[in-house]
Amino acid sequence: MSWFKRVSEGITTKTKEKKATPDGLWDKCPRCKTITPHKELIESKFVCPTCDYHYKIGSKEYFEVLFDDNKFKELDANLTSGDPLGFVDTKSYKSRIDESIKKSGLKDACRTAVGKSNGRKIVIACMDFGFIGGSMGSVVGEKISRAIDYARENRHPMIIISKSGGARMMEAAFSLMQMAKTSAKLALLDKEKIPYISVLTDPTTGGITASFAMLGDFNIAEPEALIGFAGPRVIKETIGKDLPKGFQSSEFLLEHGFVDLIVHRINLKEKISKLLSMVWDD
């Protein structure tokens, strides 16, 4: 009569203990459910010490991972989204933006900054998935474009960390043109022979993959990230079959020749630093 007993894992934390845990001090791994003290998680670069799951983190954490002593100067921090089309679906775009700003504490889905990483000045643009799925509208496109300009004018290597579902629908063709804009800026950076490293994290899809994320001199992926052009659901519906295991994963892209290397987050700073030292004299 095993169904009367709880055989499989379930709620193991006592209610008493749960109540005693203040928010933000502990993190629970979404994959293996291991609970890690937040301090320890910072040390492990937001990777689960038990199962190596790379937590979905944002610009705040990536800056912490890559900039020396978490010191940096943020660029264009004051840009916020307009509503060029007066877009309304089930709710208005404007209210979506206001809600996201309130909820995430961010102004849009990307932050850009300049600072030192292993002593070398670099510019980082990092997307924030927590803000409308990391989608790219005018602000994301503009911030990334300006960051690339800054890198070109000051001759600093450029890093873009992608984490996004794609272009932002609520700015329609304005969003689409950000793909052309950011790619054009990268063409100018390329002409100056300044290195650009693209870091692809979970997830990187749609218009992001079809623009700056795939244009790195080096394309680095975090392990087991979803990376692709069309979303898995769309492909599944199109071909009418289940997708093969591991399809559109970092490892799949490495196998097919579209990323140069997969790097565990704990080694990310070191690997970027080493790569740059091979090709770049400050």
């Binding site: 307009g82 602000v139 496109g141 700015e171 329609a172 063709a173 054009a184």
Partner: protein
Amino acid sequence: MYFDFEKPIQELDEQLEKAKETHDKGKIDMMDMINSLVKKIDETKKEIYGNLSGWQRVQISRHQDRPYALDYINAMAPDFIEIHGDRNVKDDKAMIGGFGSIDGQAFMFIGQQKGRNTKERQYRNFGMPNPEGYRKALRLMKLAEKFNRPIVTLIDTPGASPGLEAEERGQGEAIAKNLMEMAVLKVPIICIVIGEGASGGALGIGVGDKVLMMENTWYSVISPESCSSILWRTWDYKEKAADALKLTANDMLKNGLIDGIISEPLGGAHTDIEKAVSSVKKEIKKQYKLLKDKTVDDLINERIEKFSNMGVVNEDVAEH
């Protein structure tokens, strides 16, 4: 074939047909009736086509009799020589290209190609290129650059192909590469949306010095159907989505995202293909004239500048 919104025209057409029949039998003189019907049809057409909604334009842009890339190219440049393959994987039938001349000036023509019947549609993969299509397009553009010939791209795609092989061969990378390379290509590029301009699949051959849309086409980040399915979780809001996306030529021009509109014959390009071709040809000649004497630096700088200025952001200086 009539669209729903063409019902009034259909009814008048049928009345006209009957009147003509009666007249031809010779018993009753119907000329007055016929003349007034012809006049009324013309007025009704002007009224209907002068006030088309976004969704109605989307429907016209997909009309099965609408001229496709090769129809335009073969008519404008009868000496067109098609060039095949990406020199890597295969020849993508959804992306065509080659050299041809208009009034003595050679152009590199590139475009997405749709098919007209079931067999052709499958052969052309519904105008949805795979990565090798974008790579073929880039190869041809580089060829044009090498021989200093201007490029004309004709955009007509429901999107880049979504599929296993497309992902395996790097659909995203192929499009991204084109965006970057087209930005700094050393020859004039004229892009014309002749039908559907869906998202990255369209933009992959859409970075140009002059980007134009024909009157009854659409260009956006997503199709109205997919937009509806994502935001409303059903396909039923496609008309609303088409309005919200501001995807018509008029809206795109108003928002500064394209450089001009090519007008179509009343009722759409399919009603008078010869006239549509001649408008496109005239426009290509006109635009090329504006571009041909620019220095390479000016051309590239102005092209990048144009795309750099696209976007609407609020910049609160006070907070800085």
